[in-house]
């Protein structure tokens, strides 16, 4: 099996699906001839031409607004927002239009658009090239939110997403675009949406994470395991709809949970996980659910490493939770 990094896996999924389904088109800024600022779409323009690989003017609202129209017409548009930090000019189209089309039309119209966007810190991008806005979209009924943490999932989840009937935010942790490498089947396969992945089975505490944080969690748990701890690690993969069953079963087993994300803490997705766990596993909880997150500040430049959850902070929170 070939070894790919995240970018190659995303690129492979797009190629494969564009070959399989001629309704699939990609559009965005610099994604055509240039192949995207992260090269995720490289080679597509050459293979599929300007009709299906569309370099747009600089306007996110235009990209998403027209993607909605394309989807209404029957295409399967996969727009790219160059950085998640720049998605807000399209926010109205996403939360008021894309998310509500099926509902508001009584089920008459659907807009299965998959918005791909690189997100997250770790690339010295300061606060306009590092944001993690997933909670904004999780809080918006009508959208699904998918975040892969490795090349295998990136390809399998993206293929599932493009074949899904609903609008989806497909958020790609750019920090591990090249760093995360792994075996990826060349042929067609899917990883189901709404299913979390058990990364490590354990008994003492459930660690919940997604995206780039999985790798930092891995660093942390490795040390802890050496020290004799036995954490269970779950990669959520889909934030909405959440695989509540897997999460709750695990916490009922371990009685403890630590949630990790890069986004600011207040009203982040960690808050939802924490609240949900309390509602559904209260009597099993032996410690409060701990949140290891970015801080409630804009994303800094120089102090990025201090801002982001690192292995030490995560390990510390896991240990405290176990020892609570």
């Amino acid at each position: 099996m070939p070894v790919m990094n995240m970018i190659q896996a995303v690129n492979d999924a797009l190629k494969l699906e564009m070959r399989r389904d001629d309704r699939v088109v990609v559009l965005g800024e610099d994604i055509g001839k240039f192949g995207g600022v992260f090269r995720a779409t490289s080679g597509l323009y050459e293979e599929f031409g300007a009709d299906r690989v569309i370099d747009t003017p600089l306007a996110e609202a235009g990209i998403i607004g027209s993607a909605i129209g394309m989807a209404l017409y029957g295409l399967r548009p996969v727009p790219e927002i160059q950085f998640a930090d720049f998605i807000y000019p399209a926010y109205d189209q996403i939360v008021n239009e894309l998310a509500k089309f099926r509902y508001r039309s009584g089920g008459q119209y659907a807009a299965p658009v998959v918005i791909r966007t690189p997100y997250g810190g770790g690339i010295r991008g300061g606060h306009y090239h590092s944001q993690s806005p997933e909670a904004y979209f999780v809080h918006t009924p009508g959208l699904k939110v998918v975040i892969p943490s490795n090349p295998y999932d990136a390809k399998g989840l993206l293929l599932s997403a493009i074949r899904d009937e609903d609008p989806i935010l497909f958020m790609e942790p750019k920090r591990i675009y090249r760093a995360a490498r792994g075996e990826v089947p060349e042929d067609d396969y899917t990883v189901p949406l709404g299913k979390a992945h058990l990364v490590r089975a354990g008994t003492q505490v459930t660690v919940l994470a997604y995206g780039a944080m999985l790798h930092v969690v891995g660093e942390a748990t490795e040390k802890l395991v050496e020290q004799g701890l036995d954490p269970e690690v779950i990669d959520l993969r889909t934030l909405l709809p959440l695989d509540t069953e897997t999460v709750i079963e695990s916490v009922k087993k371990t009685g403890r949970a630590v949630v990790v994300h890069e986004a600011p803490r207040t009203c982040g997705f960690g808050a939802e996980l924490s609240a949900l766990i309390m509602e559904k596993a209260f009597l099993h909880l032996e410690a409060p659910v701990a949140r290891v997150t970015g801080f409630d500040t804009p994303f800094p430049y120089t102090l990025e490493n201090e801002y982001l959850p690192d292995a030490a902070r995560i390990a510390d929170a896991i240990r405290r939770t176990v020892e609570y």
Binding site: S66, M70, L72, N96, R104
Partner: protein
């Protein structure tokens, strides 16, 4: 770019420019007239209903009916219409039923959109009349996307998108027309310049001399047409359609008309505009003008007109009766359906919670 407004008819229904008079079969002329009359009478009746508290909300198109039919008539059924909330006539033209229309207003158990939206936010997929949303301008880039998709699929479908002159101030308008220009897309931007955006006068909306002039910014042709002259609108629409289907791209049409009624049933224009203004515009009434034209052509008589009125009035009454007879609201299951293609576990759970929860008197199912 000229300020001139293109008309075919004068206020008395005389043909000013025979060379521009579109050739329309007599039966279609009568259908158009009947449609405009239907919108006029429906608006009167529904507004009265709203005043009586039998409807939560309503919006009229009085004085702007020609834009509905002048826009919709020249299209093929396969062309897409992206309406705002003020072009119900374009749906009636394509066969939207009076009863469906009223059921939507009532949000009752037979509302085609399941009681999901406020009155006048129709959606009629079978006739390519796309779901209306309240946010101003959002439909414009979506229409561009449909046109883009048609071009990609090499079909010659055209997208017609309606919006008020207030909508031209939104960012959505700008990005939409810019995309349409860059990609040479088969879309027609139909700006109903009715002079007002709620209380905001046209002069406060932009310093551009005309709304049609904004086309220059996108490399598109812009035309100003008399929005109360259905024949003039048909004629500019025909040109725009030829352009679009011929691969030459988009057109911006500014239809100069006037919002004679209140913005909505919640609005009171007397606070912000001189009542003489709407009065003045009654003399340019699109229905009256067109009627006099039909009379001149011997297609309309006072008696036929009276007969049509009664016939339409009767149909509205029947539809209203039948709609008001629909028992109850949509079942609570509908509240959780259509958020996604399939109801996910967390919504099933919430549905159960709601079903099991005790309800206050106000909200028993």
């Amino acid at each position: 770019m000229t300020n001139e407004v293109f008309s075919v008819l004068d206020d008395d229904g005389n043909v000013l420019h025979p060379e521009h008079e579109p050739t329309i079969a007599p039966e279609d002329l009568l259908r158009i007239y009947r449609g405009m009359l239907l919108v006029r009478l429906m608006d009167e009746r529904m507004l009265r209903l709203q005043r009586q508290g039998r409807l939560g909300f309503y919006m009229t198109s009085t004085g702007e009916e020609a834009t509905h039919f002048g826009g919709a008539y020249p299209l093929r059924d396969s062309d897409w219409i992206f309406p705002s909330y003020r072009e119900p006539g374009a749906a009636f033209w394509r066969g939207y039923g009076l009863r469906e229309f009223i059921c939507q207003l009532m949000g009752n158990a037979e509302d085609p959109i399941k009681g999901r939206q406020m009155p006048v936010h129709h959606s009629v997929r079978r006739i390519n009349y796309v779901s209306i949303s309240s946010p101003v301008g959002t439909q414009i880039p979506q229409a561009v996307g449909v046109a883009h998709a048609a071009k990609i699929r090499k079909r010659d479908d055209v997208a017609l998108v309606y919006f008020g002159e207030g909508g031209t101030s939104t960012g959505a308008f700008h990005v939409a027309l810019n995309f349409a220009g860059v990609f040479k897309l088969p879309v027609i931007f139909f700006c109903r310049n009715n002079g007002w955006a709620i209380s905001t006068a046209r002069e406060r909306q932009t310093a551009a001399r005309t709304f049609a002039a904004k086309a220059v910014a996108y490399g598109l042709p812009g035309v100003r047409v008399d929005g109360n002259d259905v024949l003039a609108i048909v004629s500019v629409m025909n040109q725009a359609l030829a352009r679009a289907r011929g691969g030459a791209g988009a057109t911006l049409i500014e239809a100069v008309t006037y919002r004679r009624g209140a913005h909505s049933s919640s609005d009171d224009p007397s606070v912000y505009r001189d009542p003489s203004e709407p009065k003045k515009w009654e003399h340019h009434d699109p229905i009256g003008r067109f009627q006099r034209y039909l009379e001149r052509r011997g297609l309309m008589t006072a008696q036929l007109q009276k007969q049509l009125q009664e016939e339409i009035g009767g149909q509205i009454t029947a539809a209203l009766k039948s709609a008001e007879a629909v028992p109850g609201k949509p079942p609570i299951e509908t509240m959780f359906a259509d958020v996604f293609a399939h109801v996910p576990p967390h919504l099933l759970e919430q549905l159960e919670q709601l079903q099991q929860a005790p309800r206050s008197e106000s909200t028993h199912h």
